[in-house]
């Protein structure tokens, strides 16, 4: 069982490092450096203006620390199939879980410690805390975070669900922090250690005697990893995280003009795919909004001309995968429809999409600028770009995709 954890952990570490590399690309790091700089600057400015002995300094610190301790979930790396395959070895499962718990404690401990570190100047100035007192407060928070994780592991062996523990954990964590901040920081730390010890003792009792809640544990793990992957999905394409189709009934009027005729079959399908699959409509909306914001901000006509043409091209290029989106569905393969109907329908869809984008561009240009002859440049060039894309570029790309 221990080797199973090792194996899972190596796999998990590999996957995380792969995604983290993609998330922390050079642009993002640059953005983060600026962000940290800006926040740090703002924080030091705010500290200067903070009146000493503010009544609200302690509650704010308690709230921040308390929420951080409650943020984390156990990382078990259990998979759905485990509920079938590992059942006969349930007695040995605690070995696996102890290793998992050890790993699950790393992130909460580090994050809580860092939070305490950032709160130090705030508490020193706002609540006149000594360094020792802040250290004790932070230690209490760390021990509380550890207790909470242990407690969540315990719930996997108890009839009560993990959610019924939320109340107990929230109460425990905040109570300890209040004692540390208002009564006595040493007493709070001792109480935290007792709570932690009690949870640990309970773990040993439970793991020895009780039945493991397989389905719940698998659910919790699946949920945790899904949340994480959804976050990664903001930066890159994560397999298995597909956008769910959204009905968007309020957009149905846009679909009305597509008459139910044989030659419109593909258009009927593509148009709905475009509107209801956020992979496609999302790209269109995001790129168009950015383009319009740039038009609003920039008043150099040459630059605007280049930008509008570029964004039209980007939308066209990013929508191409929709053309092949339905090829894997057997119905599409057996419908008595032809390749040329498919190609024509896709061209009609892009005509409408790019036409709308061009219209938005023109309206924004007219609203944000004085009417001059120079304004004709971006209007005409982007129109030529639409024509070039639809008449020349797109048909060639589609012919290539058909092969």
């Amino acid at each position: 069982m221990k080797s199973l954890w090792q194996q899972r952990f190596v796999q998990h570490a590999k996957e995380q490092s792969k995604f983290l590399k993609l998330v922390f690309n050079e642009y993002f790091i640059l953005a983060i450096i600026f962000l940290i700089g800006a926040v740090g600057f703002w924080y030091s400015q705010a500290l200067d203006q903070l009146p000493p002995n503010s009544w609200w300094a302690r509650p704010v610190a308690i709230l921040v620390l308390g929420l951080v301790t409650l943020l984390f979930k156990p990382v078990t790396l259990l998979q759905a199939a485990d509920a079938a395959f590992l059942l006969p070895r349930e007695k040995e499962l605690p070995q696996y879980l102890v290793a998992a718990r050890r790993y699950s404690l790393i992130m909460p401990s580090i994050t809580t410690a860092l939070t305490g570190f950032f709160l130090t100047p705030f508490l020193a100035r706002g609540a006149a805390f000594t360094l020792v007192k802040v250290v004790f407060l932070t230690l209490t928070a760390i021990v509380a975070a550890i207790s909470i994780i242990i407690n969540q592991f315990n719930s996997l062996y108890q009839k009560s669900t993990i959610f019924s523990k939320i109340g107990q954990n929230t109460l425990g964590s905040f109570l300890l922090l209040i004692i540390a901040a208002y009564v006595n920081e040493v007493a709070a730390l001792i109480l935290a250690l007792i709570w932690c010890g009690f949870n640990y003792y309970q773990w040993q009792q439970l793991a020895a005697k009780q039945i493991f809640n397989w389905l719940q544990a698998v659910d919790i793990e699946a949920n945790r990893s899904y949340q994480l992957k959804r976050f990664y999905n903001l930066f890159t394409d994560v397999p298995g995280i597909a956008h769910q189709a959204v009905r968007r009934q309020w957009l149905d009027w846009l679909l009305k003009p597509i008459k139910p005729k044989h030659r419109n079959a593909y258009l009927y399908l593509f148009a709905r795919g475009f509107l209801r699959n956020s992979d496609y409509s999302g790209i269109f909306v995001r790129l168009t909004i950015i383009c319009l914001l740039l038009i609003y901000a920039i008043h150099n006509y040459l630059l605007i001309t280049i930008i509008t043409a570029l964004f039209l091209y980007l939308v066209e290029f990013q929508l191409l995968p929709l053309y092949k989106n339905y090829d894997g569905i057997v119905l599409t393969q057996i419908y008595p429809l032809t390749q040329s109907q498919k190609q024509q329908s896709f061209q009609v869809l892009l005509l409408v999409v790019l036409g709308m984008q061009w219209l938005f561009i023109v309206i924004t240009l007219l609203l944000c600028n004085h009417l001059t002859t120079q304004l004709l440049w971006p209007v005409v060039v982007s129109l030529l770009m639409v024509i070039f894309l639809l008449k020349w570029y797109l048909p060639r790309q589609l012919t290539k995709l058909n092969k």
Binding site: Q244, A245, R247, P260, K261, H262, N264, A265, Y268, L269, R272, G273, L275, R276, N277, Y326, G328, I329, V330, L331, Q333, I334, Y335, P336, L337, T338
Partner: protein, 245 residues
């Protein structure tokens, strides 16, 4: 409508799954393709639909080959796959609309038919739902409705009896019966032998991509030399031959 498969050899890669397979499905007939997992049932079906190209041999529908006229050939076939695959972005109603458009059917009369079928399969109150979120059996029902509103003359049904509730199986067999009487041909693959025995007129027993026996139950009994044996017993006999070979 007659489907003729002649000396068909084919499969996914270079190594053929089907070896020299021949059989015929006449109009007004239900033919059940029967065989173990991996015997070549689904591969045969994929060849008939033109999703796979034969390495040798021919498949004709009323004398028409796929290459001769893809659109006309496809117009003749309706298919209910074993694993229902639907469009994630279309509602149930839109699936039917799309089928009407793709097969160029008359909108009004087809919708009348569709409403009846939806009622039979208890889907009539879910027209505006995304069927992608339905259970497997319900998805299969959607595929059945979409297949049976077409004017196809050959209905291919892959494993119709797994996943459907008994009532739906009963209704499906009723539909098959009606289409048969109207002159259509039905080709179905299945493992559920009791259902096959009740509903099919002819059987094709596939083993390792080859036709081991075909014909009516009586003819197959004779072929195996087992009079009065039911399909179950014949099936077991066929798999025993494997072991002794």
């Amino acid at each position: 409508m007659t489907l003729i498969i002649k000396n068909l050899t084919g499969g996914y890669g270079r190594i053929p799954v089907l070896k020299n397979e021949s059989f015929t499905v006449e109009n007004g007939q239900t033919v059940a393709l029967i065989g173990l997992n991996g015997a070549g049932k689904s591969t045969t079906i994929k060849h008939v639909m033109g999703l796979l190209q034969p390495q040798s041999g021919s498949i004709t529908l009323d004398g028409l080959e796929l290459q001769a006229d893809v659109q006309a050939y496809r117009q003749k076939i309706a298919y209910v796959p074993e694993l229902p695959v639907l469009y994630p972005e279309l509602t149930l109603k839109e699936h039917i609309d799309l089928t009407i458009m793709a097969y160029d059917l008359d909108e009004k009369s087809t919708w009348q038919q569709a409403h009846q079928l939806l009622q039979t399969f208890r889907l009539d109150n879910k027209l505006n739902w995304f069927p992608i979120n339905f259970s497997k059996g319900m998805k299969q029902k959607v595929m059945i409705v979409c297949a049976f509103i077409t004017k196809a003359q050959l209905f291919i049904i892959d494993e119709p009896f797994t996943g459907l509730d008994p009532l739906a199986v009963h209704d499906l067999l009723g539909l098959v019966q009606k289409k048969k009487q109207a002159g259509a041909a039905i080709l179905m693959s299945t493992h559920i032998l009791t259902n096959a025995e009740q509903s099919a007129d002819q059987f094709v027993l596939l083993n390792h991509g080859q036709v081991r026996a075909q014909g009516t139950l009586k003819q197959i009994q004779q072929e195996f030399g087992m009079d009065a044996a039911n399909l179950d017993e014949l099936y077991v006999q066929m798999s025993k031959e494997d072991v002794t070979q």
